[in-house]
């Protein structure tokens, strides 16, 4: 008797509350733009934050509200941008994918003044201590960037991170992880992009004490290609807005006193000077 009554009472209560919640659900319905859901579907759902928003759903909302561009997702790239644009019914402007390059080209044997380091083996710690090597701007080689990469696109080789551009999505996590800010995200207009592989802002003497391949800040590149290069605080910079990757820069590689220019991209980073020499040798033998 009591059991039956209990069941009936509880069932009655459940009905009351179910009705209440049902009414509330109708009354408090949130009118969400259906496109937000559709765009979230086509996004990679990595929730990496590479776009600058707190996850894919947030980015989708920003796109629909017009706060973000269709191609704002660095991970999805051109394909996702197209799909997003299709949902919104707009045309997507073709842009080059953003990929990281490393502004340091010193392999282990080229870094001078290295001392044995027995602290915590992360770049952040080593950077604070600051005595592991002579160069206070260059790569420390403890692979914070490799640890930060969610896409398994980075590996350490001879004291330098190597980007696997086939796997890289350009989310920018490595650039944020680097305590020395030597990783820069640039628009990859070509398969290969030229990079000034040095971040050292010290004058010539100190650079030569710290590294055998550092930028001396001589300004030759700026004199040869004034529109492309700018030498500021003893360091050459390449203007990626003007650089298309198609210029003939061979005279530059012949003149540059160090091997600071490196081609990044597929298949593998290579010193521009060596490449220029090889090309010359091939041309001579023909």
């Amino acid at each position: 008797m009591t059991v039956l009554l209990a069941a009936v009472v509880l069932f009655g209560l459940v009905l009351v509350f179910a009705g209440l919640l049902g009414v509330a659900k109708e009354k408090l319905k949130v009118d969400e733009d259906p496109r937000i859901g559709e765009i979230t579907e086509v996004l990679p759902s990595a929730n990496c934050g590479g776009c600058g928003y707190a996850g894919c759903a947030d980015f989708a909302k920003a796109v629909v509200e017009g706060k973000a561009e269709c191609d704002g997702c660095p991970v999805g790239g051109a394909k996702t941008a197209e799909e997003v644009a299709k949902i919104l019914g707009v045309e997507v402007v073709k842009t080059a994918p953003i990929r990281p390059v490393i502004h340091c080209g010193a392999k282990n044997h080229e870094k001078l003044g290295r001392v044995p380091y027995e602290g915590v083996e992360t770049c952040t710690e080593a950077h604070i201590i600051g005595v592991t090597q002579a160069c206070t701007y260059g790569c420390l080689g403890f692979a914070d960037c490799v640890a930060a990469c969610n896409f398994d696109a980075l590996r350490m080789e001879d004291g330098l991170p190597i980007v696997d551009y086939a796997k890289c999505t350009g989310c920018g996590a490595c650039a944020k992880a680097c305590p020395r800010d030597i990783i820069e995200n640039i628009p990859f207009k070509q398969e290969r992009m030229l990079v000034v592989a040095c971040s050292n802002k010290e004058p010539v003497k100190l650079v030569k004490q710290a590294c055998t391949v550092g930028c001396l800040g001589c300004g030759l590149c700026q004199r040869l290609f004034d529109d492309l290069f700018e030498v500021k605080s003893n360091l050459a910079r390449l203007d990626y807005e003007k650089y298309t990757g198609e210029e003939d820069l061979n005279p530059l590689f012949k003149k540059c006193p160090t091997e600071v220019f490196v081609y990044f991209g597929t298949p593998k980073p290579q010193r521009a000077k060596q490449l220029a020499k090889e090309a010359e040798a091939v041309a001579a033998s023909n």
């Binding site: 008797m1 009591t2 009554l5 209990a6 009472v9 509880l10 009655g12 209560l13 459940v14 509350f17 209440l20 919640l21 509330a24 659900k25 408090l28 319905k29 949130v30 707190a54």
Partner: protein
């Protein structure tokens, strides 16, 4: 049933018998969501709202449904074993309501809460308060029960906000290595609980 009794009940549950510090209820959100003051305050407000509504509704269920039906079959407490399951259902429904309401009117707060809002469903402070209301002789009146529930929520709000304020400072303090993280948090909670015993005697 006077204004004085109401104040006694409110202060008694908010300060003297604070849910967190003397009842050891609701410790999980108290430690989990007390990293930032604004988040902690929001959590405290949500808990206060849910606790007040649940307190009133559970009182109504006990005094308006279970007891009369029990009386009808001759024994007032015949259906009291249904209290627990009915209370949990009430709390879960109220949390759902709050969630819908927040999603509609305060989307920022809704995203800030994230997983913690559904977690209120299993917050022992709320179920505990509903059961306390049922046990105490002074909350046999609906208004007193409502004040008791609201006071409990305010007590939780005060506790979690104080805790968050302290933890924001601790983040930049030189804490000994062995106490870092959960250790110093629990120590602070213990000292706060000690401090709250200073309220004993208020309202007598």
């Amino acid at each position: 049933m006077s204004f004085g009794t109401m104040i006694t009940i409110f202060l008694g549950v908010a300060l003297v018998n604070n849910l967190v510090f003397s009842g050891f209820l609701g410790i999980c959100p108290f430690l989990g969501v007390s990293r930032k003051v604004d988040m902690a305050f929001g959590m405290g407000c949500a808990v206060t709202f849910v606790i007040t509504v649940s307190g009133i509704v559970t009182w109504l269920i006990v005094h308006g449904v279970l007891t009369p039906i029990g009386n009808a079959i001759g024994y007032a407490e015949a259906l009291y074993f249904l209290k627990y399951v009915a209370f949990i259902m009430v709390i879960a429904s109220m949390v759902q309501l709050v969630e819908m309401y927040l999603k509609k009117f305060f989307p920022a707060l809704y995203t800030a809460f994230g997983v913690f809002l559904p977690l209120i469903t299993t917050n022992c402070a709320i179920l505990g308060t509903c059961l306390y209301i049922d046990m105490k002789p002074e909350t046999q009146h609906l208004l007193n029960a409502a004040i008791y529930a609201f006071g409990g929520g305010i007590g939780f709000l005060v506790a979690i906000t104080i805790m968050a304020g302290i933890r924001e400072h601790i983040r930049f303090s030189d804490v000994p290595k062995c106490f870092q993280g959960a250790g110093i948090t629990l120590l602070v909670a213990a000292i706060l609980a000690l401090a709250f015993t200073g309220f004993t005697g208020i309202g007598k």
